[in-house]
């Protein structure tokens, strides 16, 4: 139980650490950030297929979204 509380706390603190570490970026400085390669969900279909393959061959899943359809993948 103690270990679980510690895990959840460390997960919750990471965003706060990140927020503290960043400088303010103005809209006109965002040219590089706008490149398609910088998007987290750049190729939605490729990401979905890769996650589906790993879901069916490994025990771990999750982190990307909620409400995905399950399957009886062998």
């Amino acid at each position: 139980m103690k270990q679980r509380v510690y895990r959840i706390l460390s997960a919750a603190c990471l965003p706060a650490l990140l927020l503290g570490a960043c400088a303010e970026v103005k809209p006109w400085q965002k040219g590089d950030l706008a490149r398609p390669e910088m998007a987290f969900d750049g190729d939605a279909l490729a990401a979905r297929l890769a996650q589906h393959i790993y879901f069916s061959k490994e025990n771990a899943s999750g982190g990307y979204g909620v409400g995905g359809g399950g399957c009886g993948c062998n």
């Binding site: 997960a11 040219g31 590089d32 490149r35 490729a46 490994e58 990307y64 979204g65 359809g69 399950g70």
Partner: protein
């Protein structure tokens, strides 16, 4: 475009002469229109239709296992200034053989199945928020799954921080083609909280925490002596960091820590390096490492002296409550090496990707891997074409 453009102070304008004029206007427009990174809550102005064909094949020494041929289509449609619709349809033709326990070749179960899966997502955009509603369905002759989800995103005034929250519900119906299992069900509730943060003019990071609570049938009806607990809670913490280098290069790094009530914990580390080569070409080599501990009730290929395979040692005198000989619940490490090639022609994009994947017990990091299993290898090839409109 609902966002107000903030003009830079004069010193900024003078410093960056290269981005003055129409060119800067274009970059600004692109930056401000980009969903998910800079201006999370602006409805997309362009539609997208993408088609992909996936060929997947896996094998182990002496046994060619599963082959999947899978065409899929994805579309994103802006609907007016504040709505969008996304739809995905995937059809899998799955055939081959899969071991009934561990990596045993003799008696491997042969199978053929077709799976149809679809997803629909509707998003409503507000000035600093977006709400999405999703439904998903996946159907095979022995497995049906239906899911619904709702999500909320909130972005800060400067668009540098986006918070995301979501919840979903999945309901599955499970049977087996040999009739051994029928009428089983599983329900999963899952939750997401995340933050996306612009760190600098060339760095953006995202952290998601997801938690899923599942109740019902988790066993594999095609594996021998496979009896799993009827509940599983899973938690994942995913960190992603994208960095833009000068010279049209991008490094995407991700790390996920995962644990569940089956006793499995897992680490996943991924790198993708996209290098623009000019004339619309982009080359993206990728590397992924995954490692997991074994489930508490996984047993290795050490069989009962009386009953023999596939029963675990001690089964004849004191059978355990839960047991599984599934390779996917063993302790192992896995490596994927991939290469993606993109070519852009105006509004069109064509892509090709090949991945080589291998799992081995002795590639496990931070513990002993399970012994006595054959390595598992998979190849995946994807061919795609997409058009913006």
């Amino acid at each position: 475009m609902r966002l107000q453009l903030t003009m830079p102070p004069p010193d900024q304008t003078q410093r960056d002469t290269a981005s003055n004029g129409p060119q800067r206007g274009a970059v600004l427009a692109a930056a401000l229109a980009l969903p998910g990174v800079v201006a999370a809550e602006t409805a997309p102005t362009d539609g997208l239709i993408a088609f992909k064909y996936l060929w997947y094949h896996d094998l182990q020494p002496g046994l060619s296992r599963i082959t999947v041929n899978s065409p899929s289509v994805y579309t994103l449609l802006p609907v007016g200034p504040s709505w969008s619709v996304e739809g995905t349809v995937i059809v899998d033709a799955i055939s081959g053989a899969t071991p009934r326990y561990h990596t045993a070749i003799s008696g491997a179960s042969r199978m053929h199945d077709d799976r149809t899966a679809g997803e629909l997502k509707l998003t409503r955009y507000f000035r600093r928020a977006a709400i999405d509603f999703g439904v998903a369905y996946s159907g095979e002759h022995d497995y049906k799954s239906a899911a619904g989800s709702v999500g909320l995103r909130l972005s800060s005034e400067d668009n540098n921080t986006t918070l995301a929250f979501g919840t979903g519900f999945t309901s599955d119906q499970i049977s087996s083609s040999d009739g051994k299992v029928s009428g089983e069900t599983r329900q999963v509730n899952d939750f997401l909280a995340g933050v996306t943060q612009v760190l600098s003019a060339s760095d953006v990071a995202k952290i998601n925490v997801t938690h899923a609570r599942g109740r019902g049938y988790f066993s594999d009806p095609y594996k021998e002596v496979d009896v799993r607990p009827r509940q599983r809670n899973q938690t994942a913490v995913l960190t992603q960091w994208n960095h833009a280098f000068a010279g049209d290069a991008t490094l995407r790094t991700s790390y996920r820590y995962y644990w569940d009530t089956f006793g499995v914990n897992a680490h996943t580390l991924g790198f993708e390096y996209a290098q623009g080569l000019g004339s619309g070409w982009t080359l993206t080599p990728a590397l992924r490492y995954y490692t997991q501990s074994a489930a508490d009730f996984y047993f290795g290929p050490d069989y009962d002296p009386v009953l023999g395979a596939p029963f675990p040692r001690g089964y004849s005198t004191n059978p355990p409550r839960y047991s599984s000989p599934d390779q996917r619940l063993s302790a192992f490490g896995a490596v994927t090496v991939g290469l993606r090639i993109d070519k852009r022609f105006g509004a069109w994009n064509v892509d090709f990707r090949y991945d080589y994947y291998q799992q081995r017990g002795d590639w496990r990091l931070g513990g002993d891997g399970s012994t006595g299993l054959d390595p598992f290898t998979a190849h995946f090839v994807q061919l795609g074409i997409a058009k913006r409109f």
